[in-house]
């Protein structure tokens, strides 16, 4: 299994070199096995969450009839004449879910704003330090970035300076995000390379072999070894 694990990981990245049979094999395997695993994992979750709760010590838990009804109603998607039943439960599930989660957005926005506003003035009580100045700068940047989105049309002219500074803040934030994302992605490959070197059994030779094959292919395309009929587009 470690060999397959390493092969799939590096075969997936080999698409950066070019579309190739190893990549296509890895893609099909990941999609197929992934779909199968998701299906089984969800059946297992349904078993633990619903079936085992419905029949407890030989007694029926009537409250669990609701998920059964909802679940069966979802299956109506396969019966054209009962498609409205599926639509009804979909809408019910979506709206209830949104009703629970939706308030978190404004609540988080509010609590974060209050937190920044309170922390901004910490330098008055705690004195000037890197920490308190950082909190002040964070609050100012937060307000400027928000002004970029909030003040348009009627309020555009008097807030021009704020919005321009807000754009700078957003650009800095974007650059920082891109940099950390790139570093994070390199770390992922790095971790796997070290895993192949330090893991038991060592599987470093698999990506090394791939690397050599691609190096050869770069100078002498390997598709020349097989007929023109099996040519692969790069």
């Amino acid at each position: 299994m470690p060999y397959l694990n390493t092969f799939i990981f590096f075969a997936a990245y080999s698409v950066l070199y070019k579309n190739n049979p190893m990549y296509r094999l890895a893609q099909s395997l990941v999609v197929g096995v992934g779909a199968g695993y998701l299906l089984v994992a969800n059946i297992n979750a349904f078993n633990r969450g619903v079936i085992m709760n419905t029949f407890v010590n030989g007694n029926i838990n009537w409250a669990m009839l609701l998920p059964w009804i909802l679940g069966l109603a979802y299956l109506c998607i396969f019966i054209p004449r009962l498609i409205n039943v599926y639509r009804a439960v979909s809408i019910l599930t979506l709206t209830v879910g949104m009703g629970v989660v939706l308030p978190y957005g404004p609540a988080l926005f509010w609590t974060v704003s209050v937190g920044y506003a309170q922390n901004a003035l910490n330098f008055l009580s705690e004195g000037l330090s890197v920490s308190t100045l950082g909190q002040l700068l964070t609050a100012v940047c937060y307000a400027l970035a928000l002004s970029y989105f909030f003040f348009t049309d009627y309020a555009a002219k008097p807030t021009t300076a704020f919005r321009k500074l807000g754009r700078v803040v957003l650009l800095v934030y974007t650059a920082m995000t891109i940099t950390t994302t790139a570093l994070g992605k390199i770390n992922l490959v790095q971790w796997k390379v070290l895993d192949t070197l330090q893991g038991v059994p060592a599987t470093w030779w698999i990506p090394a072999l791939m690397f050599i094959v691609m190096l050869i292919d770069n100078f002498y395309p390997l598709r020349n070894l097989i007929g023109k009929g099996s040519e692969v587009s790069s």
Partner: protein
């Protein structure tokens, strides 16, 4: 030589070859550089080691740090499966520290792929191939596995976890496990929450119930998770392999993150050198053209 002359340096295939070349060089011969520890990592360790006060609501909650029997709820609910390569050593080291301190650890995964990642890479390392057979299982550690429901589920668990989810990942009854006897009403019975790239906990637990929350993520999660740290909701953060290295230094627990970080430094150094050389070459070429 004639073959070499045909190389097109703008060919993306060469970028692939160069990236792998650089990563292998850095893996075999890393550069050692000092590791400055950022404040959010220090806060993370201080919260575990000494504790923290959370006062969003009255009365404030005093958390005295992780010690024997501290109830720690680990929420494997973000993009752990995608970020594991960047989070692996930090999570492993923190988990080792929690175990060494005697914490009672409850683990929940919000998606099948997150559960599979920890099942493959973390739990066998800590509890063997069959964690449910480990002597600690049910006493110091319980794995809820993948339970669907996301934030709605957390909203329900705050009052009664076992009523909503009576069984663990292996089909065992939670009510029969000693550890769960006082680890059910999460709003008061979770002493500490550690989110693995988790979001939304601020409004569900921190603000309403003063639950201390720590956060662990990948290098690229830091930019948005920092918003909740700077606002005071996360009491500390450990981000990526760098965070893992910082935690190893702070806790004195041996791990691989420091050596991983040296590789990252090496990559960064090589990339910076390449960028400087390429830019100097570009400027010189421009001058020649003019």
């Amino acid at each position: 030589m004639n073959e070499m002359a045909k190389i097109n340096w703008k060919d993306t295939r060469l970028i692939y070859i160069m990236v792998f070349g650089i990563i292998y060089i850095s893996s075999l011969a890393p550069i050692a550089l000092p590791v400055p520890i950022v404040q959010w990592s220090k806060d993370f360790y201080t919260t575990i080691n000494e504790g923290v006060t959370v006062d969003f609501n009255d009365p404030p909650r005093e958390f005295g740090g992780v010690e024997e029997g501290t109830r720690v709820f680990v929420l494997n609910s973000g993009e752990t499966s995608k970020l594991w390569g960047d989070m692996s050593e930090a999570v492993t080291t923190v988990w080792k520290d929690l175990r060494a301190r005697g914490a009672n650890i409850l683990l929940w995964s919000s998606s099948p792929d997150n559960a599979a990642t920890l099942n493959k890479y973390l739990l066998p390392l800590m509890y063997g191939i069959n964690p449910q057979n480990h002597p600690d299982y049910g006493v110091k550690f319980v794995n809820l596995g993948y339970v669907a429901g996301g934030n709605q589920l957390l909203e329900q668990w705050k009052d009664d976890l076992i009523a909503i989810t009576p069984y663990d990942a292996y089909g065992n009854s939670l009510a029969d496990m000693p550890m769960m006897s006082n680890f059910n009403e999460l709003k008061v019975e979770a002493d500490l929450m550690i989110g693995l790239d988790a979001r939304g906990l601020e409004t569900i637990y921190v603000v309403r119930y003063n639950t201390p929350v720590l956060e662990m993520g990948g290098t690229d999660s830091a930019s948005y998770l920092a918003l909740s740290y700077t606002a005071g909701y996360f009491k500390g953060m450990i981000m990526g392999q760098r965070g893992g290295a910082e935690y190893e230094i702070l806790s004195g627990i041996a791990g691989k993150a420091r050596s991983y970080l040296q590789n990252t430094f090496t990559i960064s150094t090589i990339m910076v050198i390449i960028m400087i050389v390429a830019n100097v070459q570009y400027v010189l070429k421009k001058k020649e053209e003019n």
